[in-house]
Subunit: 310 residues, 2 copies
Amino acid sequence: MIVVPLGTSSAAPTLTRHLSATAFVNQGYILLFDCGEGTQLRLQQCRLKHSRIEAIFITHLHGDHYFGLMGLLSSMALARRTARLVIVAPEALSRLVHLLPGIREEELPFPVEYVPLREGMAKAVVYDRPDLYVEARAVDHRVFSVGYRVQEKPRPPRIDAARARMLGVTDYTDFVALKRGQAVQGSHAQMVTPEEVLIPGSAPRAFAYVVDTRPCEGAVQLARNATLLMHEATFSEALRKRAHDTAHSTARQAAMVAKRAGARRLLLCHFSSRYRELDTLVAEARAVFEPAEAAEELRSYPLEPYADES
Amino acid sequence: MIVVPLGTSSAAPTLTRHLSATAFVNQGYILLFDCGEGTQLRLQQCRLKHSRIEAIFITHLHGDHYFGLMGLLSSMALARRTARLVIVAPEALSRLVHLLPGIREEELPFPVEYVPLREGMAKAVVYDRPDLYVEARAVDHRVFSVGYRVQEKPRPPRIDAARARMLGVTDYTDFVALKRGQAVQGSHAQMVTPEEVLIPGSAPRAFAYVVDTRPCEGAVQLARNATLLMHEATFSEALRKRAHDTAHSTARQAAMVAKRAGARRLLLCHFSSRYRELDTLVAEARAVFEPAEAAEELRSYPLEPYADES
């Protein structure tokens, strides 16, 4: 599980930062969070194939978070995609996108399944696959906006095969029985119990993606014990009032969310174009929550299992 | 007058070529031709301010030619533009663009004036300013599509001041009279005629922008005696049938249009992503029309006055 920020600029692109989009990459598939203009190009630039995108999650309907969707759908059509694409987004999106010539629904060679988010929602599981699910929660922005949490499902325990053999268990059916929680006969007629040979699966990982919001309870809930929290930090503390008035967060506020939530690591993103250098924002965040840094575009951030859990 | 290609890729962007857009830059203003996804970023990258854009001309409603418009309008709004923006485009565009949250017409702080192009049109002057006008003509694509010609207006003759003084004309009112075509009294009571002192203005320049079309009479008319013709060259001759079937042109066909039209210089553009190198396309064009080359993105191409006219 790897997170790759594709764009970390708020509102408008700059010469060094692009519009909002982040790829969550796992074996064989990609979940895309937001899709600002130019996202398809950013994917190319880090060699992520858009054919691997299984679902797209849009936080809200401000252009800098979804104007890249049209071009991406267009290129998927051009590449003759046939696989279903899931789009989770505020409900107005599905009506709007397909009005555009070139990507009308009947023109696309692949099915698009919309998961509409309705204003007033508190939280919902919006996507589910065997290895993880994605939860959406309302956050606090000028328009209806949500954050997302990718939650890995508990992984089954596995058998310490060397130890099992040492205790005289070698047969496949005995291994299956142990995994089911049944004791089996080992060497010397001794019974071997699951507790003796099972190693618990690693603790489930979680990635929270929270942009375009004031610091809020929804953000804290999304980030609770997250392996990695990506949180917007549009402004520095000097512009705290402006952050509040425009319904954004400061870097320090992002750090306080991370701290309250017990997140393990914080990636700041969604920077105002007024900041050429991000040192001040990072310093303000670290004063509150040490494992904070500015998201670097196109860099891979692996989701490591919790170091202190097993 | 300078032309700056911002994107020369057809359909989808590549790692080296971007989606269709070309800036026509003159003193103090920009006319933008097509606006594929990422155009606002390409403008930034060659230090062209979007605030200087006076009018945008869209050739047709395939996404790779207009999906950048939404983000550009968005950024113009964010920069608090107040100046009117003219958008010349197939008529459906105005209905569509402003349906999108964030760029609804009432949300924009500047007026947008649409010049709608209707299917079935042959040609029309679609934009007029003191120094030039822009003509649109239908071309031959899978959907209604036009090409554009920027036509400089004749520049008034100017007075060869040194020669006028030599003939004894120094007074401002005499200069004005000469420009009006009246003879005036010079030194030694001799009359000085306009013919003796007027230098004709340089020949008017013209830039033709023709993309997404089979070679056609409309293209030839747009390019007649043009200083610079930018013409699509999606395919090489080896894919001539494919070019015809998809309603595009080969590089050689673009060159034949340039030749028939008596254009001075040809810039090929709108290249299929299958061509990493463009040598073959350029060679095929040059075999027919020598002053042909592949448009390089972000390079400035000055519109020089005709060398052989004065």
